[in-house]
């Protein structure tokens, strides 16, 4: 091919092998150093429940659990997560740990298009794991980095509030 310049490929397509425990399974994948964790989860691992909304940590659509805490997978390179334990919406659904939140969101229609919902659920779980009985104000505050264009938020706050009450009445939190 005329005009081919080897230097144009420098870096761009070199990959690094990373290993994680994702949703309870050990996985390895080859990623480019510039690839974000959200892209790796969605493209390489086909875990498309995690969404990219703003790509700068402002909207919360990409939240996943990383070593037990909610993190923005768009703000992290996949290589930085090497060795981490990651739970995405798919794993949290399968394990049943957020089944009560999902049921309450469904019952109250605390979602419309559903694009923000996985991130909302990850963050709701994060809040309830830190604060047993948050006030409505606490819930709104905790969600202040989760953007939803559809619902107006009230049903989401109501759903989390109801689950917080139910969990603490059932005997403490995780």
């Amino acid at each position: 091919m005329s005009g081919f310049d080897e230097s144009m490929l420098d870096g761009a397509d070199e990959t690094v092998r990373v290993r994680f425990v994702v949703n309870g399974r050990r996985v390895a994948c080859e990623v480019a150093p510039r690839e974000t964790l959200v892209d790796c989860l969605r493209n390489a691992l086909e875990l498309t429940g995690t969404h990219a909304g703003c790509e700068m940590g402002a909207c919360g659509a990409c939240l996943v659990q990383l070593d037990g805490r909610a993190v923005h997978s768009c703000l992290m390179f996949a290589v930085q997560a090497d060795g981490a334990e990651i739970n995405t919406i798919e794993g949290l659904t399968e394990s049943g740990v957020i089944a009560d939140l999902q049921a309450e969101f469904h019952r109250r229609n605390a979602l419309q298009c559903g694009f923000c919902t996985p991130g909302m659920l990850v963050n709701a779980q994060e809040l309830l794991s830190q604060v047993a009985r948050p006030s409505r104000e606490d819930i709104r505050d905790a969600l202040s980095g989760n953007y939803c264009r559809c619902t107006g938020y009230e049903a989401i706050v109501d759903a989390i509030d109801a689950v917080a009450k139910a969990r603490s009445e059932a005997g403490g939190t995780t």
Binding site: S2, G3, F4, D5, M8, L9, A12, D13, A32, R34, E35, R42, N43, E46, L47, T48, G49, T50, H51, A52, G53, C54, E55, M56, A58, C59, A61, I89, E90, T93, Q102, F105, H106, R107, N109, L111, Q112, C113, G114, F115, C116, T117, P118, R140, D141, L143, S144, G145, N146, Y147, C148, R149, C150, T151, G152, Y153, E154, A155, I156, V157
Partner: protein, 791 residues
């Protein structure tokens, strides 16, 4: 109306019942199927090099290096795509005198806004495609540009479109009654100039499309995150010269749309062309900055308006000038003038005065196109009207509730025609006003406000009456020559197992279309809702129709489902009657059982009718041909639009030191006719209100003098987040439309229509002690402090 529709004690009675959406469980489990998730075999990825200039001539494009990059399959310019795609013009015939220039997927010789896509690269990954963009060199020659309304109107100033006489896209005037006389004889006149900034939809999922052209079959399949698959099937067919039957558009789950994703975007048209050129699937998903600079924007109006009143506060007349700037051309195929047209026609809509005059001037400028977004025109017309009404109330010495009660069209006086010529079948302003007054506990709020003011706490209370256009007939687009349907179609089948499958042309964006259609089908047929499967959004599967926009899903789609179900039920009962040797009219269906209509005694499950019809037709009387699949279409007739109405109220607090506004509580009383699912209706209202509050308080696309968007990220462009938003109290009045059996009207835009008007009135109410006023939206802290002369 047939009485059983509202009777919730009947078995299978779902209309009027809050039932959760069956399709929401997938989304909660992270199993949504959004176009941005889609991966097809041999799929390639497109990226676009965009113009850094708001107005410039393209002198030369050098793509040689980009083409040579490994992994790049195609680099295409405007000229490459123009060879296979015919241009489009965003005008409609019924907007007389409207002009707009032809558009191509990518520009041929000139860019007209900063951010316009100029060159496309298709590569094996988005990352490689973006790498290639950096290797493309474009020489531009700057041209004089126009970014604001005044510059666009200046005689002898720069022209956006060479060869045109001015930068005017469209002018329209209304003049009803005797406006000059009314103003000459008025006891009071109030007047204000309002400005409404540009904002945009900011759907959480950006625009996404996968085009897949198969040259061996001559078949184009487009997976398109849109509300309107049929409209795009038609457009792709006509502009790329592919027979309509060989174009399939599939609209699966979509991460928000709100009107934004039903317009033609240059990148989307380009992606179709790129797939045709390559014979492979090509995917494009906008990133966030691309969304901000290439999604349609909305609003951008400057309105000068005045209102005349008699001594008692009776509204006599309105006189309005709306200037609106839409970008360098009008959006296709719905245009960019519908918003302004609705602004001047919705003004004063709730009130009974007759003298009305308005001028609309739609102007070109070097910014991204504006077009229809949730509540098209409504927030502008509502804010202008309602602010003038509040100003009038203050002048006459009336309470805001009292002046509205005095002037709204009386509930018992319908049908009526608005001062601008809209026809109203039946509205309920008086009932809504009364209900809001009670719900807000208005007198207590006022007492609290007065107490707090003494302590230096400045609260404001605002109300805003509104009307909303829903269930549009062909008057919206069809009469203007657009191939956008106002009818919908449904194909209903009784499956061999006795379940029902409903293929319907209205689409789902999360508002609950599939849920309410299954409610209506189950209700009308007499089966459990979980026995109804609803399928939407695939032109190869679902009948042609208008789909979901302008609040037509429930009213028109719902009626389509209702009528189709009645046909299917008749067919089922005809077969049942043959089997049971009874008269069809003596039979009914309850809970999936054919019953004796009089006694409700079970005769036969409908699954048994299906079994016999599909597998043992030999046991039916000779000549019987069971029709257990029916297709039925419904086009709205009667009134051109089904207007809804309502009123919103809010309570907020203004911090006069910082200019910050804290929303305390929001209220709405709304009348959308028959409520099919109260929970879903309430969620439409809440979501709509919060979008309106975003526009009222935060959202604005800010431009530099050189036409650069300055805040194209979610850190810089403020959207409403949970912390700033109030709880919202909702009540309903139900005035069903008699134009349909179902009686439903739309509800998706009511919240957005009046929320900003409500906030504008409340903020001005809070500022009353300071003799400060605000007439510009969004109401940012700087505007508050400027009004207070503290900034």
């Amino acid at each position: 109306m047939s009485a059983p529709l509202t009777s919730l004690d009947r078995p299978n009675s779902y209309v009027g019942r809050s039932v959760p959406r069956p399709n929401a469980k997938r989304l909660l489990a992270g199993r949504g199927r959004y176009i941005s998730d889609l991966k097809l075999p041999r799929m390639l990825y497109a990226a676009f090099l965009r113009s850094p200039h708001a107005h410039a001539r393209i002198v030369a494009i050098n793509t040689e290096e980009a083409r040579a990059l490994e992994g790049v399959h195609l680099v295409a310019t405007g000229a490459d795509l123009a060879k296979i795609c015919t241009p489009w013009i965003g005008t409609l015939d019924h907007f007389k005198g409207m002009t707009s220039t032809p558009q191509w997927p990518l520009p041929l010789d000139r860019v007209v806004w900063a951010g316009q896509a100029v060159v496309a690269v298709v590569a094996e990954s988005r990352a490689i495609a973006e790498d290639a963009l950096e290797l493309i060199a474009i020489d531009y020659e700057d041209l004089p540009l126009i970014v604001d309304i005044d510059a666009a109107r200046q005689a002898g100033g720069p022209l956006i479109n060479p060869g045109s006489a001015s930068n005017v896209c469209f002018r329209s005037q209304l003049d009803n009654g005797t406006v000059d006389d009314a103003f000459a004889n008025a006891a009071h006149v109030v007047e204000e100039e309002f400005s409404f900034g540009r904002h945009t939809a900011v759907t959480l999922e950006p625009r996404a499309i996968v085009a897949d052209y198969d040259p061996s079959a001559g078949m184009l399949t487009v997976h398109h995150a849109t509300q309107t698959p049929y409209q795009f099937q038609d457009l792709y067919s006509r502009h790329y010269g592919i027979p309509e039957a060989r174009v399939r558009v599939i609209a699966t789950d979509i991460g928000g749309s709100f009107g934004m994703k039903l317009h033609v975007y240059h990148e989307d048209m380009a992606v179709v062309g790129l797939s045709i050129l390559l014979g492979r699937p090509v995917k494009y998903v906008a990133d966030r900055i691309e969304s901000f600079i290439s999604d349609i924007h909305a609003r951008d109006h400057r309105v000068r308006a005045r209102m005349a009143l008699d001594a008692k506060g009776e509204i006599l007349a309105m006189d309005v000038l709306d200037l609106t700037a839409i970008g360098a051309f009008s959006t296709y195929p719905r245009t960019s003038v519908v918003e302004g047209n609705q602004v001047i026609r919705l003004m004063g809509g709730p009130y009974r005065f007759k003298n009305y005059r308005a001028t609309l001037e739609v102007l070109f400028q070097n910014k991204v196109q504006t077009s229809q977004y949730r509540a098209v025109g409504h927030p502008i017309a509502c804010a202008v009207t309602e602010r003038l009404v509040d100003m009038a109330a203050a002048k006459v010495g009336l309470d805001p509730f009292a002046i509205r009660a005095q002037n709204v069209i009386a509930d018992d006086s319908y049908p009526q025609t608005s001062p601008t010529g809209y026809r109203f079948e039946a509205l309920s302003h008086q009932a809504c006003l009364k209900r809001l007054h009670e719900m807000m506990d208005y007198d207590a709020l006022r007492a609290e406000q007065a107490d707090l003011r003494k302590r230096g706490v400045y609260r404001g209370i605002g109300i805003a009456t509104f009307i909303e256009i829903t269930n549009p007939g062909p008057a919206f687009y069809g009469v203007g020559g657009a191939r956008i349907s106002s009818q919908d179609g449904a194909t209903l089948s009784l499956t061999p197992s006795g379940e029902v499958r409903c293929l319907i042309s209205v689409t789902e964006q999360g508002q609950g279309t599939e849920a309410i259609i299954s409610q209506i089908v189950a209700d009308q047929l007499g089966i459990a809702q979980d026995q109804v499967k609803v399928i939407t959004g695939d032109t190869e599967v679902t009948p042609h129709g208008g789909a979901t926009w302008a609040c037509r899903g429930a009213g028109i789609g719902g009626e389509t489902a209702l009528q189709a179900t009645r046909v299917l039920k008749r067919n089922i009962l005809e077969i049942a009657a043959l089997i049971l040797q009874a008269q069809p009219s003596a039979l009914d269906i309850i809970d999936g059982q054919v019953v004796d209509a009089a006694t409700r005694q079970h005769r036969l499950p409908i699954s048994e009718i299906a079994r016999i019809a599909y597998f043992r037709s030999d046991t039916l009387p000779p000549g019987t041909q069971p029709q257990l699949t029916v297709s039925h279409h419904f086009a709205p007739q009667g009134y051109p639009f089904a207007f809804t109405n309502g009123i919103q109220g809010c309570s907020l607090e203004v911090d006069v030191e910082t200019g910050f506004i804290k929303m305390l509580k929001h209220f709405i009383v709304e009348d959308c006719g028959r409520v099919i699912n109260p929970m879903l209706v309430d969620e439409q209202l809440r979501g709509g209100i919060v979008q309106g509050l975003g526009a009222a308080l935060f959202e604005e696309c800010r431009y530099s003098d050189t036409g650069q968007l300055m805040n194209g990220s979610l850190a810089d462009y403020l959207v409403p987040m949970p912390m700033e938003m109030p709880d919202i109290m909702i009540a309903h009045v139900e005035t069903p439309t008699a134009d349909t059996e179902l009686g439903a009207k739309g509800v998706g835009e009511a919240g957005t229509a009046a929320a900003s008007a409500c906030v504008l009135n409340a903020v001005n109410d809070a500022l009353t002690p300071f003799d400060a006023t605000i007439s510009s939206i969004p109401i940012t802290p700087i505007k508050v402090l400027t009004a207070l002369k503290r900034f």
